[in-house]
């Protein structure tokens, strides 16, 4: 019997790691992967709650999260490729043309 809180704590930990990765890392692709990590953490949370409350819709929602994550990863990586072509760099600090 695993308490629900363990699942939630794990989920939170994964999410926090994802945010930290977003803040710390300088490679765009790594940042993207941190986003995926965040989404995974959230998925775990959904499934845990679904199990706890016996609501199957929680697992359905995980599907949608995954679909969206996949679409987002696709488009995002395409953008990264486009950016790489013009800027020749994957360092996010050097992609700052939008500054004032």
């Amino acid at each position: 019997m695993v308490p629900l809180s363990y699942y939630l704590l794990l989920s939170g930990f994964l999410f926090a790691c994802g945010v930290l990765g977003f803040l710390i890392k300088r490679n765009i692709i790594t940042i993207f992967m941190s986003i995926e990590l965040m989404l995974n953490g959230v998925n775990l949370s959904f499934v845990a709650f679904a199990a706890h409350w016996h609501v199957l819709a929680g697992q359905i929602f995980v599907f949608f999260v995954m679909v969206v994550a996949a679409a987002e990863a696709t488009v995002g990586l395409a953008i990264i490729i486009a950016v790489y072509r013009t800027r020749e760099t994957l360092n996010v600090d050097q992609v700052n043309l939008l500054k004032l």
């Binding site: 809180s5 704590l9 939170g12 930990f13 994964l14 926090a16 710390i24 995974n40 499934v47 697992q59």
Partner: protein, 173 residues
Amino acid sequence: MPSFHLILFLAFGVVCMGGAINLLAQRHPINSALSLIAVMAALAGEYLLLGAEFVAAVQVIIYAGAVMVLFVFVIMLLNAGIEEETKGSRVALLLGVPGVLIGSVFVAWVVLRNSGTEAVPIGALPGHPTDIAQLLFHDFLLPFEVTSVLILIAIMGAVVLASKPDASERKAN
């Protein structure tokens, strides 16, 4: 003697956490990608423990099998190397990290306070494909169809974005 459930949970959990930390720690993106795959695999195990068998399968097939492969391909394509050390943003480090930590502390505190001891039995909610399909194609049909449109758009977008610029350059000339 901790229950089998707990041992399995901890095993998969450790792999998750380790993979997450490794993702942060590694300097080369390919190592981070591989860590992430490990995390996803372990998560699939966690899902199984919760009884979501279909979700676990989809996690492995789609997430670990397609999305992460795409990541690896892009890393290879762009020849991403070791991360350079650049001074990016002080704000991110000064404000963001403490922010995250504080936020997670709060969340943890709330979680522990409210649901400290309620247990989820192993395989609590069996997610048979039949049941999931029932929900998916009856109650959640519209979101299902919309997401398929979304995927279509994403494909088109990706193709346009990633296509070589030579074609448009030739047109411009």
